[in-house]
């Protein structure tokens, strides 16, 4: 149920953000309409008006349908997780292909109209400008972003709890706390990388006035670097409740976990909020501009993506969302990066679907010899000596314990994989939840809980183990 709610919220967020980013393309902004540089009065032309109306009505229906389908699909998660994930992957692919296809198609129509009308057609070579630099802005770039040394602060915040007496010992016993620590460290590293990436990006020209160019570029670089730093600090602070839960001896206690979730959510919210602040302030600054300057590189964007072999830059500010960066497909490295990214994405999604199918539809089996017992399932297999078994019993239900998943699957239908119970300790679960009885095999290091959807199977295993 929790997974279903999380996925519904994710789908709503995805549809909402996409709608917000691509719906505003119908408004004339920064000299562009549908990502094509056109004169300000172009939007008044009948053909452009029709184009806008068609785009809006198509998108409206598209978002409405996908909002509904995306919500309904999530309920499949309450049936089989693998079926849900396959349906969700297909839905998400169709959603993005639909949105991007429509955006690119309208962009192309607008570009063709521009060519037909001869808007901004350069009459001399001097008028053709493919790139520009504002020397005053470029010379002051170093003052724009927060110094990279500040990213030492999140590292100090993250490592801070490690000096608390007893934490090292608690972490040595609990391997999962190390995984969380390493994940926090990796996120800090990624945010530092993102901050460096934005810092090294070239400045953009918006106006003939250097002051405006400096203010806008400074706003973008400073706020973005502040956002990454703040997000990194929040992420580091999220480790503090984990340290708290370890020291208090209440591992995975809801109050500590709530704090952890709060800090991790804040890390994401900070960036989203800053994105809107930057957009609002940028628009306010550009409104003051009396001499806007547009570099007409529409030719390189004519297919919807950027492809300019003469441009040395590999990553270009996206035309449809200024916070986003796209790859220059005119360069071989750009093609390779895009190919590898999409290739990996397809392989990973397909692999994940197959893995989930295996988990959901592989029956649990137990094979016994005179000396060993082997349990196989769609997730993990175990093998142990019969001599290790301390006690075997048939249960009517799982013990009344607070089990939490270490790895594997706990989708409300089955418990599969490694679990930990407050009283039972380490467990290996191979249990379909609505099937009884459950066979409990106690061993010195862990306990195995196993049952089968096949009637009488658990009883048969029990008898065989008893012999």
């Amino acid at each position: 149920m929790i997974v279903t709610i999380i996925m519904i919220l994710t789908d709503w967020l995805m549809v909402g953000v996409t709608k917000m980013v691509y719906s505003c393309k119908v408004a004339y902004r920064q000299g562009m309409l549908f990502g094509v540089h056109v004169p300000g009065d172009a939007a008044e032309l009948p053909e452009v008006k029709t184009m806008i109306e068609k785009y809006q009505s198509w998108m409206k229906a598209f978002y409405r349908w996908h909002f509904a389908i995306g919500t309904v699909i999530c309920f499949l998660g309450m049936w089989y997780m693998s079926i849900f994930f396959i349906a969700w992957t297909v839905w998400m692919t169709a959603f993005f292909i639909g949105v991007m296809g429509k955006v690119w198609q309208t962009h192309r129509h607008m570009y063709e109209l521009k060519m037909q009308k001869g808007w901004y057609e350069a009459t001399s070579e001097e008028e053709q400008v493919t790139s520009a630099v504002d020397t005053k802005t470029a010379a002051r770039t170093a003052q724009m972003a927060v110094p990279m040394i500040c990213h030492a602060l999140p590292l100090i915040v993250l490592c801070g709890p490690l000096v608390i007496p007893g934490l090292w010992h608690a972490m040595a016993i609990n391997s999962e706390s190390w995984i969380i620590f390493v994940c926090c460290l990796l996120v800090c590293g990624c945010l530092l990388g993102a901050a460096l990436f934005y810092d090294k990006m070239g400045n953009k020209i918006y106006s003939e006035h250097s002051d405006i160019n400096f203010q806008v570029n400074c706003l973008e670089k400073r706020m973005t670097s502040v956002g990454f730093l703040a997000s990194s600090i929040c992420n580091s602070l999220a480790f503090w409740p984990i340290a708290g839960t370890l020291l208090s001896g209440k591992w995975m206690d809801w109050s500590w976990l709530g704090l952890y979730a709060l800090f991790e959510s804040a890390a994401g919210i900070v960036i989203i909020v800053l994105f809107f602040i930057i957009r609002r302030r940028k628009e306010a600054l550009l409104k003051q501009d009396t001499a806007p300057m547009y570099i007409d590189d529409d030719y390189y964007w004519r297919n919807g993506w950027y492809s300019n072999p003469d441009d040395r830059r590999l990553f270009i500010q996206d035309r449809y969302s200024s916070m986003n960066y796209t790859v220059n497909l005119g360069r071989t490295a750009g093609k390779v990066i895009t190919g590898i990214t999409y290739g990996l994405l397809i392989v990973m999604m397909a692999g994940f679907c197959l893995w989930l199918l295996k988990i959901d539809f592989t029956p649990v089996r137990m094979q016994m010899t005179d000396t060993t017992v082997t349990v196989t399932s769609g997730y993990s297999n175990i093998s142990f000596d019969r001599d290790e078994i301390e006690e075997v019993q048939l249960l009517d239900a799982l013990p009344d314990d607070n089990f939490y998943k270490v790895n594997g699957s706990a989708d409300g239908k089955q418990y599969l994989g490694k679990f930990k119970g407050k009283e039972a300790g380490k467990c290996q679960m191979y249990v379909t939840l609505d099937v009884t009885p459950i066979l409990e095999i106690k061993m010195p290091e862990y306990t195995v809980f196993i049952n089968s959807q096949e009637e009488g199977k658990a009883e048969k295993w029990y008898q065989e183990l008893k012999q």
Binding site: Q128, V129, V133, T135, A139, E208, R312
Partner: protein, 131 residues
């Protein structure tokens, strides 16, 4: 100053860059002592190779339009007094280029008055060059 580049032009980018900086100094858009962006920053903003910018800066430095300050980087400078040899070389270049332009103007039917008027108009746009 805004430097505009056309990567589809037949004129090499480093030369376009050099010419625009010289024009900027002449028109007063770049002031004496003004700091120019670093080679890497200029290349990142223009989307060109750093070697291209470096080549333009080297040329400008050789011609005396910029100088390298250890702390500030590349700084605009206006050569005040030139050696007679440099002055003679420039006059020779000026004569050569003017000759070609005058010939083209004459072929296209422009009279002396019009040509001088054009020259005067462009010369007056140059605020930094004393009359």
């Amino acid at each position: 100053m805004i430097i505009k580049i056309n990567s589809r032009s037949e004129i090499p980018i480093y030369l376009q860059l050099r010419n625009q900086i010289v024009k900027g100094i002449g028109k007063g858009e770049l002031e004496q002592g003004e700091i120019l962006p670093t080679v890497r920053q200029m290349a990142a903003d223009l989307g060109v190779n750093a070697m291209t910018v470096s080549k333009a800066y080297q040329l400008l430095k050789a011609e005396g339009f910029i100088e390298t300050d250890r702390r500030k980087g590349s700084v605009v400078c206006i050569p005040e007094e030139e050696y007679p040899t440099q002055q003679a070389a420039f006059e020779e270049k000026l004569e050569d280029e003017l000759e070609l332009l005058t010939a083209e103007a004459k072929i296209r039917g422009m009279d002396k008055g019009q040509f001088i008027q054009f020259c005067q108009h462009i010369f007056e746009e140059m605020e930094m060059v004393p009359e």
